[in-house]
Structure formats: C-alpha cells, structure tokens
Symmetry: C2
C-alpha cells in the first residue's frame, strides 16, 4: 500500500467509494448488510417489495424504537416508516422526528442543521416526481444513509502551452468548513427538493465562484454522473461510519481566459489556475476532498488524460466512478 502522501488514483477511488461490492468482496458486504437496518417505506403496490431508501446504523435505528409511525424488525433488519400516506404526510413525520432528534443533541451531524430539504426517492437511480417519497433535512440524511444528489462543475481554460492543452480552476475550501482547507471542484453543491440540477449549478456558480448566470447557461455542458458509496469519516464532521451514497451530476465549462472565478460566499478561500500536472501532484498528496478527487479523475478520463495505456487501474476506476447507487433489496 502506498504511503498516505502518494496515493494512486485507485486509492483515491477507494477513499470515496468505500462500501464493499458484493461481487468482489461478499464477506465484507454481508458484514455490513447483517448490521445495517434497511430504511423502508411500504410499497404502493402491496405485491411489490418495499423500496429501501436508506441504510441505518443500529444506534440510529434504536432512537426510533417504539415511536408511532415507525416499526423496527430486528430479524429482518428493517426500519419502516409506517406513518403517512403521501409525500407531504411522510415528510411531516420525518421533519418532526428530525427536529426531536436535534433537540436531544445526541447526534453531532444534526448540529450543522441546514434548513434545507433533500428529496428521497423509491428508486435512487430514477429520481423522478413519481418516485418521490418524502423530504428530509439535509443534515439528517447521512443518519439514515439516504442517497443524495449534487452538482460538480469543472471549469477549465484552453492553453496550448500547458500539458494536455488546458488548465483547471481549483478552489481551496475555507478553513472553518468540513474538509477544511482541502481542494474542491470549481463549483459544487447539493440539489435540494424542488430544484432542477442545472438550476442548482447556476445558483452555486454565482454563489461560490461569482460566475455569471448567462455564462453558465450558455457554456456549461452536462457530461454524466459520478456516483459512489461513501462512509463518513472524522473529517466529514459528526459521527463516523454513517452511510452516504451519492450521485453527482457532472458538468464541464470551458472558461474564457479573462473570466476569473472569485469567492462570493464564505465557503471558498481562493482559486488556483492549475496545470494537469499540478493537480495530479495535489491528488496524490490527498489534498482534494474525496468526492472532488474522483470528479477530477472522471474529467481526466473523459479528456483522454488517463488512459488504459498509462493507468493500470483504468478499467476498475471508470466503473467505480459510476457505481449503481440503488440500495440493496433486503432478503
């Protein structure tokens, strides 16, 4: 194993996509699945299995034991939201529960309360209105191991003299934030309930990088998703070991040389315009926030900077940057 300060690209993927795969490591996979409670909602069609919308640590599930609207089955390892009949009524129950949990002060992740709702879908790979089951306070989503969605933008400038013909705008996160002082993607943010991903991008680009709305609308291009199954560590803030599967909508933008991103809120300390080689060095020093590192790897793959000829783990890396994030059915 490489030293922490000289990570391979595959080790950067391992840092972010941390939940084991059934097909390659069934023992580790089963260890998790024999411990975690599947957060379920009764299916609309009683003949279908209930959708699993989250994976919950026992110490979190325990808090809901005996409450009305919730049912815990310790044999099946399920935590079921039995109350509510539609998105509005389920959301109200979840909001009340989250507020009560916050009041106890028992869970550190709830200290960073966001007053922002994240949507929860019956099928994570189909985040559509018809699949929308309820909303949950953003800070509470990792407690329930719910799949969340975000946007990440890579802003680059063509430069024929630079290696690979381009340089990339890289922000450093503010010291007081989670993953303090780590490097990030040009723009990034979570997709809240009721917002289209591209509109999240437009908003965050203005807030985090002062990039004007018309520029984003005209030039930013959707280029796919980066999806992975993170498990929270200390630097994420709050409890460790919480499940955090995520899907990031990825965008590229070629910026004109005279456009310079500038922080417009307190989230970013400043921006660097870096060559691919400078970024590779920072990646191997593990200076990037884990999910930002792999969004950068995805950019490198799409730009032909990483290839099967220069990256021995290319095939595995490309697959793992695009993990199927539908949560396991419980047998």
């Amino acid at each position: 194993m490489a030293a922490p300060n000289s990570a391979t690209n595959l080790e950067l993927v391992d840092d972010c996509d941390r939940f084991p795969y059934f097909q390659t490591n069934p023992e580790a996979y089963e260890r998790y699945m024999n411990t975690l409670y599947a957060f379920q909602v009764p299916p609309t069609d009683p003949d279908s299995p209930p959708p699993t919308v989250g994976l919950v640590l026992p110490r979190v599930a325990e808090v809901l034991r005996g409450l009305p609207d919730w049912e815990i089955d310790d044999d099946a390892l399920t935590l079921t939201l039995t109350g509510g009949t539609d998105a509005a009524s389920r959301s109200a129950i979840v909001a009340q529960m989250a507020a009560a949990m916050r009041k106890t002060g028992h869970f550190q992740v709830l200290a960073k309360w966001r007053n922002e709702l994240y949507p929860v879908y019956a099928t994570a790979s189909a985040p559509t209105t018809t699949n929308h089951l309820f909303d949950i306070e953003r800070a509470a989503s990792p407690l329930f191991g719910i799949v969340t969605y975000g946007v990440h933008l890579t802003g680059f400038v063509r430069d024929p003299d630079a290696p690979h013909g381009l340089k990339i705008w890289v922000p450093r996160r503010a010291r007081a934030k989670t993953y303090g002082s780590m490097l990030d993607n040009t723009v990034a943010g979570g997709v809240a309930t009721g917002e289209e991903p591209f509109e999240t991008l437009v908003r965050e680009a203005a807030e985090e990088a002062s990039l004007p709305e018309p520029l984003i609308r005209e030039r930013a291009t959707a280029v796919g998703t980066v999806s992975y199954f993170y498990i929270r560590e200390e630097r994420a803030g709050g409890e460790t070991g919480l499940m955090q599967p995520e899907c990031q909508y990825a965008y590229d933008i070629e910026l004109p040389p005279d456009v310079v991103p500038k922080p417009n809120d307190d989230e970013v300390e400043g921006f660097y315009l870096w060559t691919v080689n400078e970024i590779k060095a920072a990646l191997s020093r593990r200076e990037f926030k884990p999910n930002c590192a792999i969004v950068m790897l995805d950019f490198f793959v799409r730009q032909g900077i990483l290839t099967i000829e220069n990256e021995p783990d290319y095939v595995q890396i490309v697959a793992r940057l695009h993990r199927m994030i539908d949560l396991p059915k419980v047998r």
Copy 2:
C-alpha cells in the same frame, strides 16, 4: 413496456446489459449463480480465493468432465483448470481443448473460428501483464463466459447548423455478418492478446473505415470505457444464453469535413453522416447492434445531449453503461 420499434434509452441498455444485478434483483441473480459454473484457475497465493475468470453453462462444463487438467465440482459449481503452471502451459491446454471441441462440431459458436487469441485475466478490472492467466481462441470465449475487451470509436463532424452542432458517421454492417445490416459505431474491434487498445483502434480504423493512421494518432481521444454484461441471443450467432461480459474502450474523434470513411474490408456496407435526431430515431427503432447503441448513448451523455432534465432514466443509464465487470466470487 414500449413496442419493439420505439425503445426507450433504458430499454436499449437492458438489451445489452442483460445479467441481473444482485442489489436490485437478488432472486434473478441467484437463479443464474445457482446454475452457472464458475470457471476458476488455482490462485498463485494458496491463501487467496481462486479467481473466477468466466461463467459457464452446465451443458458446456459437461464436455470437460473427466478430462485431465480440468476439475468439475458440482456442489461448489466450479470448473477449475487444474493443469498448467503459467500462461503458456495453460494456454496450450485451453487451445487443445478448444480445438477438440471444434472438431466435434457440437458448438455452433466455434463454427466462426477466428484464429485470434483473447487474453484472460485474474481480475477483469485489471487487465495487466501480471494478471494475465492464459489466452483463448476468440470464438470460444463466450462458451466460457470470459470477459473480453474491445475498442469503439465515435467519429463526428462539427456542423453549426445541425442540432447539437454535430453530425456522426454511422456504418451499416454487411448483411452476411452477425447482427447483419444493423448499425454500428464508426470503428469497432476486439483487443487481441499482445495488442494495446490504441493500436487495435489504429488498425481497425484503417481496415473498417479507411481512416489514415496519422489522423487517428493525432486526433482520436480516449474518453473512458463502456462495460456491460451481455447474454447471447440468436442474432449474435450460435448458441443462445451464453454469458458475454465486455469492456469497450471508448474513443472520440472529430473528423475534418473532407474526411469520408469508406469500407476497406467486407465488414461494412457503407457509412451515413447523420444528425443526432436521425440517430435517436434509428436507436429507438433498435437498428443499432446492442453494444453499439449503448456506446452511442455514452457519447450522448458526454456531449450533454442526454441530461437529467430530458432523460428520466439518466442516473440509471450512466451507471449501467459502466458496469463493474469483475466476475462474482463464488461462496
């Protein structure tokens, strides 16, 4: 379900990525895994589990029962190549076995004998020299459900007047080939033993499309992989139901308007320069060879033609275009 002549993009993915996923359909997954024999090679390190290099139908495994160098365990559902100590000696045993199977005329897929070797790796997601276990005749690889590798190139021409600003060169396969008269990607071919993927691309681009070597070397860009788990159907030729997991190295090339691809062998009938809308219509008519359809979807994703805002199955499609193709460990 849509009529066969108006496939959704997700249905096109389903047509190609046909093996069930454990996490979303454990019952169907287990049905396969309780039937197929895992093709294994004894591990170099006796403490490691043996790598699974293929998934084999019982009627194929049966042929090897009782032969020296092979061991069948009907309880563990394993078929083990016990003979050979290195790539050369294992390859010799496999070659002899394949030649003998060909002689019996029992397996139709062997009628299309290619005299071309495909490499087999201990870990499909790490196709490196150190993981190279043996080679197998290309025509025999689906009999053993071995992961194979190929290259697919999308050649496009910028055209500011066309929708999305580009047109794409689409060949129609010769009528006599497998998937006869179906549409294909601009260039495609299998990566044989000892060949680097980019060199396969250079060779196939000259053979199939008369695209000159310097043009490919200068302009073709690696853009990732498209990987999936196909199960053979009638139109693939030969036995149906054989397992065929594949990893395609994807490349894009922007062609100058005056470069016109021309068939240079008998594999292609002719080339069309089509708009995105013409291609979408042909896709929905299921006119593309299944794996070529999903390589085209990957191009559409990377070019911002498909987005989360216009494709409800976007998240699932992007993940499934990049399936982890390491074969399951057998418990």
